[in-house]
Symmetry: C2
Subunit: 397 residues, 2 copies
């Protein structure tokens, strides 16, 4: 495929040696040639990494020029030295890009509690600045530089016509483990050549994250580093978007975020199934979210799907402890369009048929109808397999 990149951005991704494996990219740089509006949504973990501390204090902002990212080390739980290291990353990148450190944003992802190897970071940042490009190869290199345990690249792109111009959005994301939905749940940068006011960009990004990155979970462990950034440099449209143009942009932003968000549990560590959970007829969206999250994070639900086992009592009981209000006697449950549970009692279904529908497909669909109100929410998670356990038992030592 050919990705239509937004105007006025350059990208780079390089290997600087934070990751052991030769040639695997571990530093990325995204540069806007002109000052861009930047918005950010961050982890709600009380224990947040140094880069989150810096970016959160800066966004929304009107004059962003670059985002510098390293993978392989999260620079989290590293105290005052970690904060100084993140500031040094910004200074080195600013020097290399010819702008001020205050015009930069920084992201890190990887192991927690280890100090950054600053010599490698500095050399990598300089090398990245020298290899910046505005072509697809450069964008893909940057997209690869943010990955950690991901088995595949996570990118999305949209184009739309507004104000007689074509606006483009591209996004790159990472995430496969330590994914819980109390925040942005991973790293993501979205670049667009639309023009947006800072406060409006922030509102639009928050709204898009709420129905995308905040609707996924791998194991519910909220990370210290989760960050979604939106850079809007206005290179395609001079004036900030308003009215129906703004609405069209917001829809494209939601699509971009949702496309990348789904990729994260789909590529969850060891995952063999992407599970889509529709909670329908809840009394409120927050009730629907609580229930979806409880189902998504139940090890018993996730292992059942991994085993293609329509063990639906685990789904209904997870809804029951979510802290939402509903009448169990009015609940219906469908698994892959098979009615399993109706008005609080078991329905007649062929367990083997349902099991085959799970086993044969990468995607499993659960739909819980509460008949308690009008709120609906869609949520995504991965199944839980032996490979997840093997992987996470052997991660650092």
């Amino acid at each position: 495929m050919t990705i239509a990149l937004p105007k006025g951005f350059r990208f780079a991704g390089v290997h600087c040696g934070i990751k052991q494996a030769a040639g695997v990219k571990d530093m990325s740089l995204i540069v806007s040639d002109q000052p861009a509006t930047a918005a950010g949504v961050y982890t709600q973990n009380l224990v947040f990494a140094a880069p989150v501390q810096i970016d959160r204090s800066r966004t929304p902002m009107a004059d962003a020029r670059f985002v510098v990212v390293n993978s392989g080390n999260a620079n989290a739980c590293t105290g005052p030295r970690g904060l100084a290291d993140a500031q040094t990353m910004l200074s080195v990148a600013a020097d290399a890009c010819g702008c001020s450190p205050s015009q930069g944003l920084v992201m890190s992802t990887g192991v927690i509690g280890v100090f950054l190897p600053m010599e490698k970071i500095a050399a990598g940042t300089t090398a990245a600045a020298q290899s910046l490009g505005d072509d697809e190869a450069a964008f893909l290199a940057a997209s690869d530089g943010v990955l950690t345990t991901d088995s595949s690249r996570k990118i999305a792109a949209r184009s739309l016509a507004v104000q007689d111009s074509e606006i483009r959005l591209v996004g790159m994301a990472k995430g496969a483990g330590m994914i819980g939905p109390h925040m942005a749940t991973m790293l993501c940068v979205i670049a667009t050549d639309a023009a947006l006011e800072p406060a409006d960009a922030q509102a639009m990004l928050r709204s898009a994250v709420e129905v995308s990155f905040n609707c996924i979970s791998v194991e519910g462990h909220t990370s210290t580093n989760d960050t979604v950034l939106l850079l809007a440099n206005g290179a395609a449209t001079g004036k900030p978007l308003t009215g129906s143009d703004r609405e069209a942009f917001q829809a494209a932003l939601v699509e971009t975020c949702t496309e990348m968000a789904r990729m994260i549990p789909s590529d969850g560590e060891g995952a063999t199934h992407l599970i889509t959970i529709d909670v329908c007829g809840a009394a409120s969206t927050s009730d629907a979210r609580r229930i979806a999250k409880a189902i998504a994070e139940s090890a018993l639900v996730k292992t059942a799907v991994a085993g293609a086992d329509p063990n639906w009592g685990r789904i209904v009981s997870a809804a029951g402890y979510a802290g939402a209000k509903f009448d169990p006697a009015r609940v219906d449950l469908h698994i892959n369009d098979h009615l399993i549970y109706q008005q609080g009692s078991p329905a007649e279904f062929e367990a083997k048929v349902v099991s085959r529908s799970i086993r044969g497909q990468h995607e499993t669909f659960l739909r819980l109808d509460l008949n308690a109100g009008d709120a609906n929410l869609r949520f995504w998670t991965s199944d839980l397999t032996v490979d997840y356990i093997k992987f996470n038992s052997e991660y650092t030592t």
Copy 2:
């Protein structure tokens, strides 16, 4: 060992065929020869099983005569038919014991969403009534009849001298999966020959559960059936306990509950480690509980312990998303007495030494000092292994 059984109780455990394997006990009966005070603590799951509905409406009560229990089928999510089946269980047991159905309590555990095989249940109840005994063999048979995926029996006993009499407590518990700490988390019956007023028995049991069964988790999935019952028949002491006698009894009750509670994650499905989590210096007990629960239920913490990996960033970050208040810069963490993290920065420690201390022992000790207040809480969980996943992927089909 010889278990000192309380006076005036008889026990039985039999195989009636709910479980497939020949000879494996699946029905138990506990009978008090005289009316006993009964207290109960139950699951807080909105989706609760028929037996929970009945027992919750009856306790605390003054005239309990029996508890009838089946394993292998939870009688949960079974609608009105499930409720009728639980009432039939009580009627059959009451007939067999020569008392009224209203004097009974009922518990079920096993697969959710399948109707009870009532012919087997009726035959089993009658057989159990015929084999009631007041000796250790009968008690052990009853203890076995409540088990499901447990790999070992869970019992505890205490004796204490009060009012010139010896009072005895014995408890039997089950639980290895679907263990979350929002309630009693499993099935347990404690029998004592002390005399207690119903309201006082209820208060004492609730208080004991709060620091024992409500401080454990295997995977945080709150079950539909969790029930802890206390039967106090007064056969040893005529008058209800007061003053220092009551205090001594409460201490023994807490010890009994704690001893059994610890056995549950220690025997968690596939578990190779019992993890003890001490959260110290929290601003409140509820904050300490939130943090302990988040750590206990983090798949990343649990897989790290399974892999003997001192990946402490997972522990600190779990504390951070628990919803409690503390200053990350004041936190210390010890793993098996090794100082790992001090005042918000990494401490100097030998990862290999810490790893060996985890690998070599069944028990792992985590201690998080928040330095935020005076509240302390001890919590227990199991590690998360490949065998847990294998087991739970293949449970019903």
